[in-house]
């Protein structure tokens, strides 16, 4: 009987998960801490976002620097085209708690060279370059009054999987106050991102380059946990 139980725990994590409660990990683009609506103007530069899409994968949970749990559920494509916030539910035993999480923002190099794939990685999701191989890790498009381009448009397609322009970022976020629901809301402070880039020199990134890697790093540095 004891053996049977051990076998079950070993071979069917889903069995365990099904027995336990779920929690939600979500991402929200914000401006001064307020969730942003697409197509709506923010701030003195009338910053508007039209497209925000990105890949995440390999979410790992740590408790005091020890890895507790890793969800190997492949890639998620978060697309804010119709919502303020998007994310995914995870199930884990209720005693399961964590003090920091890590995840990949972007697509790893092996996946980038492995041919056509279904689901979130299907090129029909518009997250694959066409004239040149490679996934777009992060797509941000919109307008801002101070952007010196036609129709004030900015276009950031960040990607690249080959050195020296590999763009995938490993994000690590400490969690100070884990709510009892264990839900995690990750903020993408768009206002902070735009404070750190100068739209005069950087308003269009359409292929992997030094600027795209630099911007991916800036993006990684502004992500934070809400109400932490």
């Amino acid at each position: 009987m004891k053996l049977f139980f051990t076998l079950l725990t070993l071979f069917s994590p889903h069995f365990l998960i099904a027995q336990t409660s779920s929690f939600f990990i979500s991402f929200t683009p914000t401006y001064n801490g307020v969730p942003m609506e697409l197509e709506k103007a923010y701030g003195s530069d009338s910053l508007k976002i039209e497209t925000l899409k990105f890949y995440i994968s390999d979410i790992s949970f740590f408790n005091q620097e020890q890895q507790w749990f890793k969800f190997q559920d492949g890639y998620q494509l978060l697309d804010f085209s119709n919502e303020l916030k998007t994310g995914k539910s995870y199930g884990a035993p209720s005693y399961f708690s964590y003090s920091h999480i890590e995840f990949d923002l972007g697509v790893d190099s092996l996946t980038n060279v492995s041919g056509a794939m279904e689901g979130p990685l299907d090129p029909m999701n518009g997250m694959y370059w066409t004239w040149q191989s490679g996934y777009i890790n992060f797509k941000l498009e919109g307008t801002a009054a101070n952007c010196p381009t036609r129709k004030n448009e900015f276009t950031f397609h960040l990607g690249g999987y080959q050195a020296p322009y590999a763009g995938k970022q490993r994000i690590s976020l400490p969690i100070e106050n884990l709510p009892s629901t264990r839900d995690i809301e990750i903020e993408i402070p768009i206002d902070e991102l735009f404070q750190k880039i100068n739209l005069n020199d950087n308003n269009e990134i359409m292929s992997p380059c030094a600027t795209s890697v630099e911007m991916a790093k800036i993006l990684a540095s502004v992500l934070k946990i809400k109400n932490n």
Partner: protein
């Protein structure tokens, strides 16, 4: 008795719903290396190959349904485009490069003259999206195909599900293109011991091995590396090859080494189609400017060929023509599928 019959019918129905498709093995000579393509992610089957063939010849992949892959890659030209130095696409717009011949793609792991594409599956996205080629999006191709009377059934037969996705389209196109194996030229027959070369061809073969084989490596006649073979930059195009993609200075003016099989069918030559005849090509290689530091190593030693030797070398290059490949009916426009489509619509 009746019961038995029903059982048999049920059983065959059961089996046939599992044996969805006939597996196909890629056939190639023993002296070829193993393919670079990972077939375990895209096992060749008869109906996927046929689906890919239909897609390859169907102009529905372009914005105004006017251009198919075959518009630029014709079977009779070893799937190159011989009328033009630079390719012609939608609204008769000119591209900036010569459409390469397509064969033995299973052995290649980077595609395009500059290596922009890292996997055969992903290659088709480039011409589909190119504003001067097919000017379409894969999202819209999926939508268009889904509304035809033909394709949902073809996808169901091939993939077990009539729901069309970008990935399924790309993999089917790969399947058809992977079957384009050219391995029955006079050279191949010589390798198999079926025939012997003439004295002239033998001499040409030696000259080839001495001067060309380091880049155009047997038996595929390319190492599929990138090199600078000394072509001057065409200032109307300013094409810097691999540098365009990697932005690494030392990649400037490197182009993919093309295979030399089927040259009689795939003229004009080079990435911009600047040479129409093999004579012009040999003239280029024998008149290289050796002070050009950018020339890739083996070409830094002068190539000296008498006019007889040039003739012999060309005689050898012609042994790489593969008529049976170029005239293979299996690779042609699939009338049975696509003409039925026009009737249906």
């Amino acid at each position: 008795m009746k019961l038995k019959l029903i059982c048999i019918i049920v059983l065959t129905g059961f089996i046939s719903s599992f044996v969805v498709d006939e597996m196909v093995e890629l056939v190639y000579p023993s002296y070829f290396p193993s393919p670079a393509y990972n077939f375990s992610n895209n096992q060749l089957t008869k109906s996927k190959i046929e689906l890919g063939r239909a897609l390859f010849y169907d102009p529905i992949l372009s914005k105004d349904n006017s251009i198919s892959c075959a518009s630029c890659h014709s079977p009779f030209n070893a799937f190159a485009h011989t009328d033009h130095d630079l390719s012609h696409g939608i609204d008769d717009q000119k591209g900036t490069r010569n459409a390469p011949a397509l064969f033995n793609l299973a052995w290649q792991s980077s595609f395009m003259w500059d290596g922009a594409i890292n996997h055969l599956d992903m290659q088709a996205l480039a011409p589909i999206a190119h504003p001067k080629e097919m000017n379409e999006t894969i999202e819209n191709v999926v939508k268009k195909l889904q509304t035809t009377s033909l394709y949902p059934d073809l996808f169901k037969d091939a993939c077990g599900d009539s729901k069309i996705t970008g990935s399924k389209i790309l993999k089917a196109l790969s399947q058809f293109q992977l079957t384009l194996v050219s391995a029955n030229s006079k050279y191949d027959q010589m390798k198999m011991g079926e025939i012997e070369f003439s004295e002239q061809e033998k001499n040409g073969y030696q000259l080839f091995q001495k001067n060309c084989n380091s880049c155009h490596t047997e038996p595929l006649f390319s190492s599929f590396e990138f090199a600078n073979n000394g072509l001057s930059v065409d200032t109307t195009l300013n094409d810097f090859g691999k540098f365009t993609i990697t932005k690494i200075v030392s990649d400037s003016l490197l182009f993919k080494i093309p295979s030399l099989r089927n040259l009689s069918f795939s003229y004009p030559y080079m990435h911009d189609g600047r040479f129409k005849k093999l004579n012009d090509v040999l003239k280029h290689y024998t008149q290289l400017d050796h002070k050009n530091k950018l020339l890739t190593k083996p070409l830094q030693n002068p190539i000296e060929l008498t006019s007889n030797e040039k003739t012999d070398l060309i005689a050898f290059l012609l042994t790489l023509d593969d008529q049976s490949f170029v005239f293979d009916k299996k690779h042609r426009f699939p009338r049975n599928i696509l003409l039925q489509n026009t009737n249906k619509n």
